[in-house]
Symmetry: C2
């Protein structure tokens, strides 16, 4: 019997219990899944970083902490978390992110906001083709790459930028500081899907926002701290940035008095771009349990130096 | 020397002259391209159906009329037009249509209109995945097939319906009257890309709109007469249809007093989904001229019985 503790906000138990039991059973694993194992008897923790569980020092035999979230920056600095930590790379989350990013890119590309606003006059303006609309993806991890490939499939020329060098078919891959400058220079739409680390904080600040073509549009479904909010508000004021669609923020929910709310050139969405889907996520958790028991390497294990 | 007459609204000459000359030259054709050849000396007409030229009875040696438009229903009944008539199947037009259709499908799928309206509160509602959103494409010609394939690429389950039987990979292809009923039964979003013929008029009327699941959404980038406007307005009133995005109308521009304008559950776009792009269209025209001169069959020749 494998003891698995479910440690997330209590309301998540209702959505995850049945999918997890099904996935464990389908993987042939005998699991005692509970909210309340004694810490010293826990073999694995299924974990959401906003859980009450923050002290892992008594989880003495725990073989792995399996995050339900893709972003683990809230816990990589936890010194009691000494066992392997795995991020969630949920195919359902990836699919949802691709749909959200593609939808908002096409919304900008087709100028759908203007269409919706002009419901009193016939004003035919034909947008350029996707092939004439350069897009830059900052971040080429699992999510950034999947989104970039979907955009390439629709005909957009996509430049990708990442910390370390990558080579992905049909994407112009750049890296490093000079690469960032080049990636921003021609981008009519910039998408942020970088991990949230000390090195990526304020990737878009006054200096880098100024490298973009005038009127560029920003889409941030990644992490709030990737953007210097004051610099973005200033760039929206001058028109250097034409519009921003932001799904993530330094403080969530976004405080009611934040200048992004109601800003004519900002769309706020409430952290919905990357939502883990219980059924597909449960299958990933079960596969990692199976690997742990079989002594195989875990999927998506976090490199604690890099922070993701 | 091949005499080619350009017959379209005068303002189109500015956008088409240079691309046509380039395309003819690239195809190795010696062409005298003008607005004003004597009718009896014209070898080919490059044609827009809203041109002043409606009487072809003196175009005695004309080998083909090459339409710049995909839709030729305005001229298939012209009894003086006895020479071969070719529709435009412009790769640029197809790309633009795919982008417009995909953008508006994702707009509905993600409920972007609600996101844009809720710019004063944090209200996280996560949409289903594309794989859980059945879409039906009415019409599986060049445009319908290209759009259906793009939607399949994003993960949507797509049912396609056409007059005659088709077999297209990854699309559930139906045809005939029973097929239409089945195609509409599960469609959360319906897209109209049928040709405008006597047989397709009012494809969506009170009876077929009632076959859809309650709250279904309609996207019409095809032709205005495919929809019975009164029936659609009634179905929007009862909530049987949740929303409609209409790009084409029986009368264009849509008259200012039409109930579609300002309707809370209708988005009007000004016939922008299918726009021929001069550079790519000119290459198609040049290829048909080359074929005509070489005695090869024309591309996209209209079947005058079928009307498309």
């Amino acid at each position: 019997m494998i003891n698995v503790q479910f440690a997330a906000l209590p309301e998540r138990w209702a959505s995850y219990e049945a999918p997890l039991r099904t996935a464990f059973q389908n993987a042939g694993l005998e699991v005692d899944l509970r909210l309340d194992h004694a810490p010293s008897e826990v073999d694995y923790v299924v974990y959401a970083p906003n859980s009450d569980l923050q002290d892992f020092s008594h989880h003495s035999r725990c073989k792995a902490v399996l995050s339900l979230w893709a972003g683990v920056e809230k816990i990589t600095g936890n010194s009691t978390l000494t066992m392997p930590l795995c991020r969630m790379v949920d195919p359902g989350l990836t699919a949802g992110m691709v749909e959200w990013v593609t939808g908002h890119v096409l919304r900008y590309h087709l100028d759908i906001d203007r269409s919706l606003a002009e419901q009193d006059r016939w004003n035919p303006i034909v947008p350029p083709l996707a092939r004439e609309r350069p897009i830059t993806m900052l971040g080429l991890g699992a999510l950034g790459t999947a989104c970039a490939q979907a955009l390439v499939g629709l005909g957009f020329p996509v430049t990708g930028w990442s910390r370390s060098a990558k080579d992905i078919p049909n994407i112009n891959c750049l890296h490093g500081e000079d690469g960032l400058k080049e990636a921003l220079r021609t981008a009519e739409i910039v998408i942020l899907l970088l991990p949230d680390t000390a090195a990526t904080e304020n990737t878009l600040d006054a200096e880098t926002l100024a490298m973009l073509p005038k009127g560029a549009r920003i889409i941030n479904p990644g992490r709030g701290p990737l953007v210097d909010d004051d610099a973005l508000l200033a760039a929206l004021e001058t028109g250097q940035i034409g519009h921003a669609t932001l799904d993530v923020f330094r403080v969530e929910p976004l405080p009611q008095d934040h200048p992004y709310w109601g800003h004519p050139n900002v769309t706020v969405t409430p952290h919905i771009a990357a939502e883990t889907r219980a059924s597909t996520a449960a299958e990933v958790i079960a596969e990692n349990l199976r690997r742990g028991e079989a002594g195989e390497p875990f999927l998506h294990q976090v490199d604690r130096q890099l922070g993701y």
